[in-house]
């Protein structure tokens, strides 16, 4: 037993491994599958658990995600590590046509308690076939829950909540946050609720909704703006589906201004959806137009300097705030 309120200092990546370890200890139905997991990410789990529950898979993304779906339908709670988010496209048939739809299509006879973990691998000089942030595609798919944690504690608490959830969950882990360390709760029942955004900084002048790896940039932009007397409220979205509209609308009702920072491509982005929701349901609160700070509609280049310019930064957020304050 660990003490309630006890913590240990963990990186975002270590927190993910600990979440899996704790849930595998707690529930023997939890299994972990993925490419080369014996080498990357889960080495210590192989030492601890029956290797039947840990599957190094062949390079067959669509099928090993589907194997996870089949196992989820028949009594297990699989975690499938899809490694790099651009590989989601290979597995999208099983995620979208099977995992997301089977409960509905069978008139709720089935449940799909599956977790798909995948990393958004951008700002890492991997070029356009490894660097996508495709969460808007899955936001547009009913039947899934979609998470994007931004801190080590949330990476642990949301993953544990996802493993215990009876519906299919896709988690986008941001590699730009992998090394970020913080004190993380060690209580085995520490869970972060799915569907709740977190207000990371309070302020009355402008709302900045931040998705995944945008959070450090949003917070440093807010600090800089405060020096000029502009108080930004920073909301860490944490869960993309279901969207915590209430937290966003409550904040915009207070500030009257909204920036959404999203590293996916701007067109049809999560930022677009949030802007639409606030336009429909919070229009009366808005003093100025909503600003989306997102990646433009070009692919991610190999060149590091150009790549960096595509994504959300402190300066781009500050510029967007200045445009509406």
């Amino acid at each position: 037993m660990t003490m309630r309120n006890a913590t240990q200092k963990l990186s975002y990546l270590q927190a993910i491994v600990e979440a899996q370890r704790e849930e595998m200890r707690r529930d023997e139905r939890v299994i972990l599958m993925g490419e080369d997991i014996a080498v990357y990410g889960a080495q210590s789990l192989f030492d601890e658990f029956d290797n039947k529950r840990l599957r190094n898979t062949p390079i067959s993304e669509n099928s090993f995600v589907g194997v996870g779906v089949g196992a989820a339908l028949t009594g297990l709670r699989p975690i499938v590590d899809l490694t790099i988010a651009s590989f989601c496209y290979l597995a999208s048939d099983q995620i979208i046509n099977q995992a997301a739809k089977l409960r509905f299509m069978t008139g709720a006879q089935l449940a799909v308690p599956l977790v798909v973990r995948t990393s958004t691998f951008y700002n890492n000089r991997t070029a356009a076939q490894h660097a996508d942030r495709p969460y808007p595609l899955f936001m547009n798919t009913p039947g899934l829950k979609v998470l994007a944690p931004s801190t080590a504690s949330d990476a642990k608490g949301l993953l544990k909540a996802a493993i215990r959830d009876d519906d299919p969950v896709v988690i986008f882990e941001d590699i730009n946050l992998w090394g970020k360390k913080e004190e993380v709760p060690t209580d085995e029942d520490f869970l972060v609720p799915i569907g709740k955004a977190a207000v990371r900084r309070e302020g009355g002048d402008v709302t900045i909704v931040s998705i995944a790896g945008c959070l450090p940039h949003a917070l440093s932009a807010a600090d800089a703006l405060a020096k000029d007397g502009v108080e930004a409220e920073v909301i860490d979205l944490r869960t993309i589906v279901p969207l915590d509209k209430e937290t966003i609308l409550t904040s915009v009702a207070k500030t009257g201004r909204l920036i959404v920072a999203d590293n996916s491509h701007k067109v049809g982005s999560v930022a677009s959806e949030i802007a639409a929701v606030v336009s429909e349901e919070g229009f009366e609160s808005l003093k100025r137009p909503i600003q989306r700070v997102a990646a433009p509609q070009v692919h991610v280049p190999y060149n590091a300097a150009l790549e960096k310019r595509l994504f959300v930064s402190k300066d781009r957020i500050i510029d967007a705030v200045r445009a509406i304050t």
Binding site: R29, I31, K52, R53, R55, T57, P58, S60, N62, S63, F64, V65, G66, V67, G68, V69, G70, A71, A72, L73, T74, G75, L76, P78, D93, Q94, N97, Q98, L102, R103, F104, M105, T106, G107, A108, Q109, L110, A111, P113, P142, G143, K145, D165, D166, D167, G195, V241, P242
Partner: protein
Amino acid sequence: MPLDRAQQLEMFRRMLRIRLFEEALIAHNPVGHLSIGQEGAIAGACMALRDDDYVTGTHRSHGHPIGKGAEIGPLMAEIFGKRTGICKGLGGSMHLTDTKLGLICESAIVGGGFPLATGAGLSAQVRGSDQVSLCFFGDGAVNQGTFSESVNMGAVWKLPVIYFCENNGYAVTTPVEKSHGQPEIARRADGYGIPGVVVDGQDAEAVHAVTLEAVERARAGEGPTLIEAKTYRFDEHSNRLAIPIEYRSKEEIEHHRNERDPITLYRAVLQTRDLLSEIEAIEAEVRTTIDEAVEFAKASPEPEMSDLWDSMYVNPISAPAGEGEL
């Protein structure tokens, strides 16, 4: 173990149920993909399984739950799109999934069932259960990447899976020999290091025997088997689809209907075993069952808009205000 008399009659009953179920559909509620002609392969395979074994199927789905022994009324009501349907009218003809009998998916994405059946096999292995998983698929599905990916995983991990091909000769209109580099589908098994078996799909007892052998092998932890049952679809790919080209000859179709009907063939076999009176009783019983299912389906209520929202999640994401009523 060969089938005893009661099991032989049960296999005949299930074959006939598939046939009369679909003939009733032709008469009352025309839908797409019929299994008429393929009943021997389906019932023969299912009779080798236990109720708690898993099955995945295809868009040509009607035969699979019936072959596994499902209750007929909810299947009929599903095709009529009714709330009393096995999937509440949300799945329909291509997706007749009765989970009470281990069916976990009838996939209308061709090849979509391979990973799911393989995953069910993985699940049984991890849980230490002796359940097996049987994956029905057509000849066309063999050309999907999921076939190769999934059969390979089944083989590598020695999963208790039976990959069962209902080879009816045509992927919609494209014949096997024009779309497969290796048209002998069972031989594909060599590429994964597992046994591949060919069987006459119009001979239900032969299908049962090879499937039972594969099931026993799977339960013993020896891994998957690929079975190719050579069968024939008497009707078009989809009865809703007008196919303007003559991709198979009338003589070929008539030959199969007249000489290779699995129900006629099995009825004759059972007759030689002095089971005629039992057969006639089953024929009367199945007709009544189907008639009652049609009446049940017709009299059943339509699903509600709220059923859509209620079927989305176990831990619900509530319907946005107003949208539940749309």
